[in-house]
Structure formats: structure tokens, C-alpha cells
């Protein structure tokens, strides 16, 4: 029969160890988990208010903002593409909804549907331009980011559109809170989206095709995977979730504004990468991205509570990014040496 691996390989011929300690290294999201625990511990030590319901509310509010858009970008990055236009869509679509509903009196569901339709169209344009024109998605979405940002700004010349009434839709989107806890119901949206995406990615054919398209598009195509269709669908998802993020904010805070210079596109990439996504495609984790969003939320709130100037937030995120990536790489290596195999 075939001989063993001549060079011994990185795994040798050891059987898989099954000790609980070793099994820890099988967790793909170990990097962000470790980072999260350290950060939570550090901030809790610095400030006793870190674990109150009030701060939970603000942690989760930030997590929803970074997370919903981050999840969409994660899926797209697994498919091997980028979307820089998320910040512009995040700004534009709620403005469209607010404009149609508040300013022009359309039915709120119609306004919501139309603004989501626009997001889908933007995603389609991003995807088709990338595939048919054969231009890297980074460039295409950079161009569309600038274009739609301009549209958003010109819609009202800079003025926000605010909603002052009482609306069940707005309550459901995020205005309502759980009892007296200051935790917005928008958390439910984040969880629901994370669960659905996680199931699709890990347990369906489509999910397999997304990993394959990002891992090696040519190979996937050779095996009959409709790589083009898969990628365009992911572009649509990314835009849709960016719009949903903005609309949830509209619900939570009551105003739609053309935001400027938003770091959201980069922050979304940070969320994806800290959660385990690779810039080259073919790898990533929804759970990881969800945890990353929560960790970012903890960082934002934790910095405030510790009295550290929020100007340090960016530096913090940079440090977190490097830390998580290094831990991800190291734990993969250690896991390999211990012989653990990650279930896929």
C-alpha cells in the first residue's frame, strides 16, 4: 500500500489527541475569544461599571452597528471579494427610506422595501461590474462608494431627516428596548442574521460554493460551481446588510444623515479579519465576526468608562487586529502540532 508521508509532514503519523486541552485549539474562533476575554477582564478591572446593564446596552449598540455590516463583508470576503461601498450604502439607504416616508409621506413598508431594493441594485452593480468588466472588486466598490456618497449628500444638501412620531416599525428596528435595561431590540436582528448566515455557510451547498469560489475560483468553476452567480449574490448580501445596518440606526436613533468620512468600510473588514477571514478568500467565520463586533463594542464602551480619550479607539482597533490575527495563526499552528482537526 502507499507509504507514509516521506518527510514526516507537519502532522507525522500521530493519532488525533482527544484531550480537552487540545480540543480548545480546534476552535477556529480562538483568536477573537482570547482577545475578547483579555479585553473584558482589563476593562472590568479598570472600571466597575463595565458589567452593568447600562454599559451592556451601549456595548451591544456598537456591536450591532459594526456587526451587521461586518457579517455581510465577512461572507463576501470568504467568497474572495471586497466591498468598500458599504459606508455609502449605510448612509444612503436610510436617507432614501426617511425621505420617502417622512418627507414624502409614502407608506413606511413601501419606503423600507424601496430602500432595500436600491441596496440590492447597488450590490448587483458592484458584482456585475467586477465580473463582467474584470476589474478588481476593491477598485469597483471604491468607485461606487464615492458615487453613492455624493448622491447621499445631495439628497438633502446635508440636512438630516428626523422622525418624531411613534411607529411600530421604528420600535421593531431598534427604538424599543428590553424593559428598563437600555439594551436595544436591534440585538435580535444581529443574532438572527448571524444564525442564518452561519447555517447557510456551514450547512448548505451554497455555503460550500462560497468557500470554494473564494478559495480558488478557477478550480471551483472547473468543478461546475457557478462562481459568477455565487459572487454576485455575495455582493448583493453585503450591500443589503450595509443598508440594514443604516436602517437599524435610523430606527434606533430616529435620524438619517449623510455621514462623512466614515471608517465603516475598514471597520467592517477588521471585524471580518479579526473573526478569522482571510484577505485571500476561502476562509472566515460568522461566529468569529460576531464575536469581533462584540469585542469592538466592548472596546468602545470600555475606553469611555475608563476615562481614556476615545481618540485612542483607532489605535486600539489596530492593536486588536494584529493581536487577533497573530493568535489565529499561532493557534492554528499549535492545533496542528497537537494533532487536532477542526471540523468543517
Amino acid at each position: 500500500m502507499l507509504s507514509g508521508h516521506e518527510n514526516g509532514g507537519p502532522f507525522g503519523a500521530e493519532p488525533a489527541r482527544s484531550s480537552p486541552f487540545a480540543k480548545v485549539f480546534a476552535i477556529q474562533e480562538l483568536g477573537v475569544l482570547v482577545a475578547g476575554l483579555i479585553i473584558a477582564a482589563a476593562f472590568a478591572y479598570q472600571s466597575p461599571q463595565f458589567f452593568t446593564a447600562g454599559s451592556a446596552g451601549s456595548i451591544l449598540a456598537s456591536a450591532v452597528q459594526f456587526g451587521v455590516v461586518g457579517l455581510g463583508v465577512t461572507v463576501l470576503m470568504i467568497a474572495g471579494e471586497f466591498d468598500i461601498s458599504v459606508a455609502s450604502v449605510y448612509s444612503l439607504c436610510p436617507m432614501i427610506m426617511a425621505s420617502l416616508w417622512v418627507t414624502h409621506g409614502l407608506n413606511v413598508f413601501v419606503a423600507l422595501a424601496l430602500s432595500l431594493l436600491l441596496a440590492i441594485a447597488i450590490g448587483l452593480i458592484n458584482g456585475l461590474a467586477t465580473l463582467l468588466l474584470n476589474i478588481p472588486s476593491f477598485i469597483v466598490t471604491l468607485a461606487t462608494a464615492l458615487f453613492w456618497a455624493g448622491v447621499s449628500l445631495n439628497l438633502t444638501g446635508g440636512y438630516p431627516i428626523s422622525f418624531f412620531g411613534k411607529s411600530a416599525v421604528m420600535q421593531w428596528l431598534g427604538a424599543a428596548e428590553f424593559g428598563k435595561s437600555h439594551i436595544s431590540v436591534s440585538v435580535l436582528w444581529l443574532l438572527a442574521i448571524a444564525i442564518v448566515l452561519s447555517v447557510v455557510l456551514r450547512m448548505t451547498t451554497t455555503g460550500n460554493w462560497i468557500f470554494a469560489s473564494g478559495g480558488d475560483g478557477r478550480a471551483a468553476r472547473a468543478m461546475g460551481v457557478p462562481v459568477g452567480r455565487v459572487k454576485v449574490a455575495c455582493f448583493v448580501l453585503s450591500s443589503l446588510l450595509a443598508a440594514v445596518t443604516g436602517i437599524i440606526q435610523f430606527g434606533s436613533f430616529g435620524s438619517a444623515t449623510p455621514t462623512q468620512g466614515s471608517d465603516l468600510a475598514l471597520t467592517a473588514i477588521v471585524v471580518a479579519v479579526v473573526g478569522g477571514a482571510s484577505l485571500l478568500g476561502g476562509r472566515g467565520s460568522i461566529i468569529g465576526a460576531l464575536l469581533a463586533a462584540i469585542v469592538l463594542g466592548m472596546s468602545y464602551t470600555g475606553l469611555v468608562l475608563s476615562g481614556v480619550s476615545t481618540t485612542w479607539f483607532q489605535s486600539f482597533v489596530g492593536f486588536l487586529l494584529l493581536f487577533a490575527v497573530i493568535v489565529n495563526l499561532r493557534t492554528a499552528g499549535i492545533g496542528a502540532r497537537l494533532g487536532v482537526i477542526r471540523k468543517s
Binding site: 447600562g54 454599559s55 446596552g57 446635508g158 438630516p160 436613533f253 455621514t259 469611555v304 476615562g307 476615545t310
Partner: protein, 324 residues
């Protein structure tokens, strides 16, 4: 045995002592947050931050400038939520949006945290009356536009064209200023006032943007710049194109570069909102309430018109980083 007992006792004493003193100082030192939409990467906010922090030092309180990277209202709202969750002694808020910040402010008021507004009061009729009633530290934006218009008036002809450089329309106050300027000059001399959105991130880009406008509108008689960054760009443009005395410059806020342009006569004047005072007085206002029970007062931080005549006495203020 005895040594262990002694060590234990010493440790307890030390811990107890520090814990006790921490507790005592935590009780004594009030904590204030001053919440804005942008941070020190923008000159104006940097000066406000300095005022806030200097007030903290002078008054012996913990005064924290709290802002995201310019200029996302949702991030400001989230940050405000964190500020409130920290249960401070008082909060000052730059009220940039008629609605987005309302819930957090009302939650703070419900939790008996005193709140005042600073720099911007972007109300509409429908804004919550409890918020409209809050004390305000700052300048009247719409009328400031008119003040700038008045400053330019002597240099303009009837029907003149004026351009208003808006560096950040997301910050509603900028749009309001241009609108105030426009209304004033239209009424007075039937001027045409254009808004030029100049959000370029580097001076070279900003200059290119202004240049583009000026070339397509060669009859422009004056440029109003809403911050020192755009003010400096306007000054550079006039110098480069040798338009001193033909194109007049006015603007808001001050920086060493803008002050220099005023001294050299290229820029006619700048309206200084005293960003430092806004930051400083917010903290003072809140501290008076917390320490002595005074109801917070409305404070007009004044508008100082800096021109060639008083530039010299303004120099040291700019040099010390307090001129905004």
C-alpha cells in the same frame, strides 16, 4: 507564624488604606463628559478639547472630551449612550441632530444627570421640549452667518457673487452658517451666494477644489471659509493668483496660518467662536450645578472678530493653542 501574621496585617492595612483613599477620591472628584461629533483631528475640536481638559485641571474635576472620529452622528449617539451608562456627574452635548441624540439625553435626565448643550442647538419644532429647555453654551449660528456677511458688506458691490466653503455638511452647523450668510447678503445687496462643499482631506486637494470653482466663476468677489483649514486654502489661492484686493476673504475660527494671513492683509477677518471658551465654560457650568447647586446658565461664548487691527494681541492666544 508570627511573621505570617505580621505580613497579613501589613498587607491588609496597605490594601485597606489604598481602597479607602480610592473610595474617598472617587467620592470627591466629579466626572463630566463633553460629547461632540468629532475629535482633535479637526482643529476646532482640538481647541475645545483643550478647554475641557484645562477646566478639569483648574477646577479639580475629571473632565473628559468624548467624541468619535469626525463626523458620524450614529457614532456620537452610541458614544453618548456609553457616557450616560458611566453615570457621570454631568454631560455637555453638541446637539447636532434634531432627534438622534434625544433618547440618550432624556435617559440621562431621567437618571438625574444634569445635561447642557454646547456649540450647536439643532432643534426643529418637533424636538423634545425638555431638550429645548436645556442651557446652552455657544454661539448663535444663523446670526453668525449674518455677522460674517456684515463684515464683508463694505467690500462688495450690488449683485456680487460670494462663495461659502463648507468643509463638512454632515456637521449641520456649517450648512446653517452658509444659509445665514446667504439670506443676509441676498437681502442686503441681492448677492449670489454659492455653497462650495470642500471636504478634501489634504490642503493640496482642497486648493484644487477651490481653484476649480474660482476658474468657472471668475466674477467671484469674496470667499467665506467655515474653518481654518478652508480659510488657509482660500488665502493660498488668493496669493497664488495675485488676487489680493480683488477677492476678499472672511471666515470662521483661527489658526496660526489664518492669523498670519490676516496680519498680511490677505484675509480681512475671521469670526472666532472661542472654541476654548466653549469647552472650558461647559465644564464650569456643570460644575456649578454639581458643586453648588446652581441651575446651569445660558452662556453666549461670544464672537470675536479678529482682523488686522487686533491681530497682534490675538497672537499669543493662537500660539498657546487656545485660539480656535
Amino acid at each position: 507564624m508570627r511573621l505570617r501574621g505580621l505580613l497579613t496585617a501589613t498587607t491588609m492595612a496597605v490594601l485597606g488604606g489604598t481602597a479607602g483613599s480610592d473610595f474617598a477620591s472617587a467620592q470627591e472628584k466629579p466626572k463630566f463628559y463633553v460629547n461632540f461629533i468629532g475629535g482633535p483631528e479637526i482643529q476646532f475640536f482640538a481647541v475645545v478639547k483643550r478647554g475641557v481638559e484645562d477646566a478639569g485641571k483648574d477646577l479639580g474635576v475629571e473632565a473628559i472630551y468624548s467624541a468619535p472620529k469626525c463626523c458620524d452622528i450614529n457614532l456620537q449617539a452610541q458614544l453618548l449612550k456609553s457616557n450616560v451608562a458611566a453615570n457621570p456627574s454631568g454631560i455637555a452635548v453638541e446637539f447636532n441632530d434634531p432627534k438622534a441624540l434625544s433618547k440618550q439625553i432624556l435617559d440621562a435626565l431621567d437618571a438625574k444627570i444634569p445635561v447642557i448643550l454646547v456649540n450647536t442647538q439643532n432643534f426643529t419644532e418637533e424636538s423634545d421640549p425638555r431638550i429645548k429647555a436645556l442651557a446652552y453654551v455657544g454661539q448663535d449660528e444663523f446670526h453668525s452667518g449674518a455677522k460674517v456677511g456684515a463684515g464683508l458688506l463694505p467690500m462688495l458691490q450690488k449683485g456680487a457673487r460670494v462663495v461659502c466653503q463648507n468643509p463638512g455638511p454632515a456637521q449641520i452647523v456649517q450648512t446653517v452658517r452658509c444659509d445665514g450668510l446667504k439670506k443676509f447678503l441676498e437681502e442686503k445687496i441681492g448677492a449670489t451666494v454659492d455653497t462650495l462643499v470642500n471636504t478634501a482631506s489634504t490642503p493640496a486637494q482642497g486648493l484644487a477644489v477651490l481653484d476649480g470653482y474660482m476658474r468657472s466663476h471668475p466674477d467671484t468677489a469674496a470667499v467665506v471659509s467655515l474653518n481654518p483649514e478652508t480659510g488657509t486654502i482660500a488665502c493660498q489661492w488668493v496669493e497664488k493668483n495675485d488676487k489680493q484686493g480683488k477677492v476678499f476673504l472672511g471666515g470662521y475660527d483661527i489658526s496660526p496660518a489664518v492669523l498670519d494671513c490676516i496680519k498680511r492683509g490677505i484675509t480681512s477677518f475671521s469670526l472666532v467662536q472661542q472654541a476654548y471658551a466653549q469647552g472650558y465654560l461647559s465644564v464650569v457650568n456643570l460644575n456649578l450645578k454639581v458643586k453648588y447647586g446652581m441651575t446651569p446658565s445660558n452662556i453666549d461664548t461670544g464672537t470675536l472678530l479678529v482682523n488686522k487691527d487686533n491681530a497682534a494681541e490675538f497672537q499669543p492666544i493662537v500660539d498657546s493653542g487656545r485660539g480656535g
